[in-house]
Symmetry: C2
Subunit: 230 residues, 2 copies
Amino acid sequence: MNHPILSSSLTESVYATLRADILSARLDPGQKLKIKDLCDRLSAGSSAVREALSRLGSEGLVLLEPQRGFRVAPLSMNELHDLTRTRGQIEALCIRDAIAAGDVEWEIGLMAALHRMLRMPKEVESEPKRYSQAFTDAHTAFHEALVAACVSPWLLTLRRLLFTQSERYRALTRPLAEVERDLDKEHRLIADAALARDADRCVALMEEHLALTARILIEAAAHGSGPLSD
Amino acid sequence: MNHPILSSSLTESVYATLRADILSARLDPGQKLKIKDLCDRLSAGSSAVREALSRLGSEGLVLLEPQRGFRVAPLSMNELHDLTRTRGQIEALCIRDAIAAGDVEWEIGLMAALHRMLRMPKEVESEPKRYSQAFTDAHTAFHEALVAACVSPWLLTLRRLLFTQSERYRALTRPLAEVERDLDKEHRLIADAALARDADRCVALMEEHLALTARILIEAAAHGSGPLSD
DNA sequence: TGTAAATAAAAAATGCATATTCTAAAATGC
DNA sequence: GCATTTTAGAATATGCATTTTTTATTTACA
């Protein structure tokens, strides 16, 4: 459970490690985060841990209750619904912007990111039932590349915020791979539409893409095998 | 410059105080925030101050450079443009949602918030050339009330984030009240459109409302009297 | 003599051990 | 069995130690 990520300051590294553990669902939603335990596990002082947790708090990944410590932000069906819908709306704004403003460099970047993601192994033997870190990174980079030409830094900031939140849910879809899914095809179609400058189609495909991830979790929950409340 | 805001934990209070000082422009954009100074001024230890600054950091109000401390996030014309546009888009989504889903309670809440804001004195003699805290709070509450019926918590979260950012720019429009502006009328028209369930008009009025605040600052900067870079 | 590099001193940020305060649970009494 | 007190554990806060950055000064070189 120890994943030391090197960085400039100790706080940075604690922050990055904790963040990765939450996003990849190595830490359970709702779980209590005891300062002392984390200090031991990450071999850092309470200052560093506390500061990292504060930051994760305002990012929405950690819930902080005054005088009662920190816990991993819970997941729920309700939030999944809301998140999917909202992210769809924001991605749509970004995509339309990017398609309108994208130049050749953008097209090249998108193609490169797509290709890299398609070639990345989705899992490794050391951690089966879980997306590999390499694939996850490439996947994140693909979605970044898709909207890289968006002219609004703030819109991109909002998109990244929601994307991060979605990652937590996405990490849960892999273990229960009941529905067979052609992720590669979904991504390829999205990229095609973007390169063809067909904004409406691209947005529609993206919404479908997001909805499918949500649906997998919802159906799993309906069968009682999901880890979600509500 | 000392504004002790009581709260559950010391960190909370330091956070709230600092936040208010930044939003109201009592702290200058780009200004260095020295830990020790803040400790003395707020009579708190370095942990509390550091933690508060971290949180403000991921909220975008404070810039944090590893090993080089904290500074108040700078303002710029470019960001103002972007912020205005993006906030317009997000407010639009919230407004359409609220108007579609709003019930009688929402209508009542909106009318009440409007009325309270209209009756609130915009300035006090102790701090001329600056919006009164009472008005600022009522203004915030009005904009909250307008979209309170929006069904998406995440959309509202994003809206609040951008609203907070905008507050910093809005606080600067008062000192340079060159352009005479009928704020009351603007807000009244927005509320009217919402209550009439005319989403298109409401969105258009809101965009105008936001654009006007931006224009005042931009024109002031063009005349050299503004405090903005870029 | 002026400029620039190198070094030394100061200031500031980061990290830690410890003390204090608060919460929650166990134990005691009613 | 319920309420109150006690106690253990945990979160919060502090001051100091350490490390890094910045500033000021000196020294070398053109």
